[in-house]
Symmetry: C2
Subunit: 162 residues, 2 copies
């Protein structure tokens, strides 16, 4: 039995007490962009309930072109107005470099990715970089509340990056 | 008081009973790619606990270049081996076209995005498209368990796309 099969059994239990459907647009008008890290349960960390907020996640929680795509759809079509960015302590993105990662792939499979891995060496600096990318984008219309945080994987606390 | 401030108050309560840190690599060796839709609480839907699985999310839950970047980091650096894809019923991506979305942005701000919005008109077809993109990528090494599902926002159930 694969892990996927075990998780599907969990889903059957989840559905037993599920009550839906809820409306499509997020009730709290918020979009969260967080790292994919397994220790960040975004709904738990922010006390969100099903239907409250869009949740966008990728390696690092960085603002890539795809995150801009998602935020543009979130704000322009589904009415979100605030953005919350979440990086975290002990992040895997602090442990390698873009050059090293891309070279390792080239060495192994003979093809070097045309994309940056988006590794970083300072959490707060990268949160500010992500905020700057949102502020610079012509495709994300609502920028009055774009706030960035570092989630502490030891304490469970969000600390704001100023 | 903004919604962000309210969610930060929720976080303070979450941290009161939080126990960490857990290890960085996902305990269940799984990466999930799901739509950003507010109604999909991935940890709840799959019965995941903090530390279990990488969670990658974007508009549609589609396999974009950024999702490939995240999956490459997840598998190559952090040991995940299975991939679960989650689209869902009543998805916003079924309600517009790429051409229309990009044109509306061009009309409003004078700049047309150079990226596709990744809208789709059939859920199962787009799940299969996402699986095909993973299978075709030289950067995602482990492809033995790549399974795709549609989450029913009415019932809470995952239905596998074959």
């Amino acid at each position: 039995m694969s892990v996927t099969d075990e998780l599907l059994a969990n889903n059957a239990r989840y559905a037993e007490t599920f009550s839906g459907p809820l409306p499509l647009p997020p009730a709290r008008h918020v979009a969260v962009v967080a790292c994919m890290d397994a220790r960040i349960n975004v709904y738990g960390v922010l006390g969100l309930r099903e239907g409250d907020a869009h949740v966008i996640r990728n390696a690092g929680g960085v603002i890539t072109e795809d995150a801009i795509r998602s935020l543009a759809i979130s704000q322009r079509l589904l009415g979100t107005e605030e953005i919350i960015l979440i990086h975290h302590t002990d992040c895997g993105m602090l442990t390698f470099t873009d050059d090293g990662f891309r070279k390792s792939i080239e060495n192994e499979v003979g093809i070097k990715p045309a994309w940056a891995a988006e590794a970083f060496d300072d959490l707060a600096t990268d949160v500010r970089q992500s905020i700057a990318r949102i502020k610079a984008s012509p495709f994300v219309p609502k920028k009055d509340s774009v706030r960035g945080f570092v989630f502490d994987v030891a304490s469970g606390r969000l600390d704001e990056v100023c």
